[in-house]
Point group: C2
């Protein structure tokens, strides 16, 4: 058994700063008091201990207090992605069989109809009858559930347990160290593992999170150059803007600034060279929802020497390439360790997440002769657009449901701003316009998944067994 992170942290370092947002600061004791109060309120409103609920909200302190309250109640929290379309959210809410969605007042319009919504304001203004809060959590208790698509295009709800999060946070320190004055800038979504893991680390490490509601490049430039923060997680599109901001203002990263954890695929060499010039240390990481954040991380020292590599595994993790133990041989990347999800919920609950303890990522890669991982090709032609995972199959499924479309194929196209964007190839069965298809997509898909281009074609490239060859699509661009 392990202690309830929130209570234990407040006991150990009550007066340390835990959270800063728009100039206001909460210490760990305050965070505890508010979250316990919210737990009482949620309980009085009918949220049962150990039940499954969904949460949606903007990256603001009241979202964090609600999350922590649910953790006190040992609820399984389905963290809903605010960027999704109503249809997508409806699927997740139904698949997860949640009784309630606890919803930021400002986000109510994002949700589908006919669901049980509990507004943040309702919770905050209600009377909370005190209940006993468990002092201990078990490692295999599910803390969070995040939906991610796979090869089929059907989103699966991934369980992330107390043990997964804890192992991930601890392994991360063994890699990058820990100081009492560490402050983590959080400008990535809290509903993603990149953001949520910053909260977990804060509780375990006892360090401050400086929270941004939205990414603000000049704010980050100021925080990094002044040494107000020491750590930041980001994706390529954010780094580009921070680099520009620092360079244009003739600023360097503060010597107090320790590391940028950079996710979502390898970074252009140009970024790394520019970062080096202004003393901005960058650790590129390879992680996914199923591994509760980082599996491998490339240290700043190796950034240029091992260009394109995702680094070595964190201490508790193992990486191997399927069917080989030779260096430089490509194959599916397999991952093992206490950070790997025990499995899924809903319609995929019976699907095992691992085979003999190994997570089969679907990604293709190799290890070099020093054991550095290189990711060559993302799973199921995964498109990573501004840090969001976009699965071609998911978009194709939506396109093919359109009454004018016979066949659809989607692939990624390079994009200067977003890294990649999705592009669709469509075989029509009835006449229609590209505009009509795009409107239809906007109704059914998150905006970042809507194809940036639609091409009408006579037929799609298929292999002998009639399987769509998405890589061939790229050649049509």
């Amino acid at each position: 058994m392990y202690p309830n992170w929130i209570l234990q942290r407040a006991y150990l370092t009550p007066n340390r700063s835990a959270l800063t947002f728009e100039g206001e600061t909460w210490n760990f004791e305050q965070i505890k008091e508010i979250s316990v109060q919210r737990a009482y309120q949620l309980s009085s409103l009918g949220i049962e201990e150990n039940s499954r609920i969904a949460i949606i909200g903007r990256s603001r302190p009241n979202l964090i207090f609600i999350m922590y309250a649910c953790m006190h109640l040992k609820c399984e929290m389905v963290l809903l992605n605010r960027k999704l379309a109503k249809d997508e959210l409806a699927y997740q809410i139904q698949d997860a069989e949640v009784k309630y969605i606890i919803c930021d007042d400002e986000d109510q319009h994002l949700l589908p109809e006919n669901i049980n919504i509990l507004l943040f304001s309702t919770v905050e203004m209600s009377y909370g009858n005190p209940i006993a809060i468990d002092l201990e959590w078990s490692l295999n208790q599910t803390t969070s559930i995040m939906y991610t698509s796979g090869t089929t295009g059907f989103p699966k709800g991934v369980r992330q347990t107390v043990g997964n999060h804890q192992a991930s946070a601890l392994a991360s320190i063994l890699n990058i160290g820990l100081g009492e004055d560490d402050v983590w800038l959080c400008a990535v979504p809290l509903f993603h593992i990149s953001g949520f893991s910053i909260l977990i680390r804060s509780l375990l490490y006892g360090n401050e999170v400086k929270l941004y509601e939205k990414f603000d490049a000049m704010g980050a430039v100021e925080d990094i150059s002044s040494g107000r923060v020491t750590h930041m997680s980001l994706v390529a599109v954010m780094l580009e803007r921070i680099l520009n901001g620092l360079e244009e203002n003739g600023l360097m990263a503060s010597p107090k600034f320790k590391i940028i954890l950079a996710g979502g695929g390898p970074f252009p060499k140009d970024y790394l060279v520019r970062a080096k010039k202004i003393n901005l240390p960058i650790a590129q990481t390879y992680g996914m929802t199923e591994t509760s954040s980082q599996t491998a991380t490339l240290s700043n020292e190796d950034a240029i020497r091992k260009l394109g590599s995702a680094g070595k595994p964190l201490f508790f993790n193992q990486i191997k390439i399927a069917d080989t133990d030779k260096p430089y041989v490509e194959g599916e990347i397999l991952i093992r360790g206490p950070h790997v999800t025990p499995g899924y919920i809903g319609q995929f609950a019976k699907k095992s997440s691992t085979i003999d303890g190994w997570l089969h990522t679907g990604d293709i890669g190799y290890l070099d002769d020093e054991g550095y991982l290189f990711v060559v090709d993302r799973r199921s032609d995964l498109i990573i657009s501004g840090g969001e995972n976009v699965y071609p199959a998911e978009i194709e499924n939506v396109l093919m449901a359109h009454h004018c479309i016979r066949e659809a194929g989607v692939c990624g196209m390079e994009d200067e701003t977003w890294g990649q964007v999705p592009v669709a190839f469509v075989v029509l069965k009835k006449e229609t316009t590209k505009e009509e298809i795009l409107d239809y997509c906007l109704d059914h898909l998150a905006k970042y998944k809507v194809p940036k281009e639609i091409h009408f074609v006579e037929q799609l490239p298929r292999n002998g067994s009639n399987k769509l060859m998405r890589r061939k699509l790229k050649e049509l661009l």
Copy 2:
């Protein structure tokens, strides 16, 4: 499953310095290579995987290589205390039912006759047939076994598992942080948890250990003032000599020096005030063999404000006082957490180490209103002498086996150098001399356990149920 620490560390940071001893340095790759070679040799000499062996040796690199080799073989290592008398070692060797004792060539004279000894030199010069070394360890595998006495005076072999050591090392960083350049000065015995835990931390953290064969105050003064090391574990008697050394030479601790972990009971305020003057940060800890090192630690900031306190528990641990949840009420100190031993070996194998998951320490203490632990009285009148635990009952058992002694009672006496030393009160049945008794003790007890004074008395103070009242003995001093 968790990775074999030695292999994983060598994979992740092969070139980092792992160990320094008398001017020679080994990196993690070298440590791995030597220890794997030793594992091959031990295996070829008949040491089986998962078997139980004992080890005795001086604090030198070859001891560490043998220990790591045994860890590769997943042996249960009984770490023998070099200061014990032959009788005491014979008891442990018999109780642990070890097939072999792997012995430093220089330590052979410490061991009893008629046991299977494998000398370090024999191992080092033998041919080692390569075998498969497991890449993974399970959390409940026993890494080390250390004997410690209890209320009865009979030493019990305490299991310390992979999970115990790992939880302890990780919780320690959550308390004191971790930097890439951390170097831990080890001048405490490797057969004690204080020293052995420094090795575990080095493997998990990837930091260097600067090993001393024996404590050398002026060496430590030099290392601390120059910033050559950043961390050190010690007991009061060592701190006194380091303080003197720094003061007499007009030296301060280097700003690079981070923390002294000080175990073995509360420290005199005078030491803390003097340490503060020369910028030497001290974290007092409360730990024991059964908890694989620290359970609670008082931060340097609180050293004077919370004088006499052992601090708060480390993150994964819980402390409570039996039969109360009120502050300032004294009672038995109970401990819970992943660092607590699963149990004992040998004749105490069936004795449970915990009740409802709580280790009953036998120590008496209280928590103040902020949750700081104060240890008021040590278990079974435990005497802590120069960092070694001395149990009165164990000495009394030896004394009462003497043919001239009818009754014996032992208590601790304050001592400027050692903190405390044992003193004996004896009721004779036949005439004998104090010298004769002391000679007898030297044959049967480690030197640090031999009473510093023997007093002949007519009777011992006993309570209504005829139980020896050791606290009353102190009044006779």
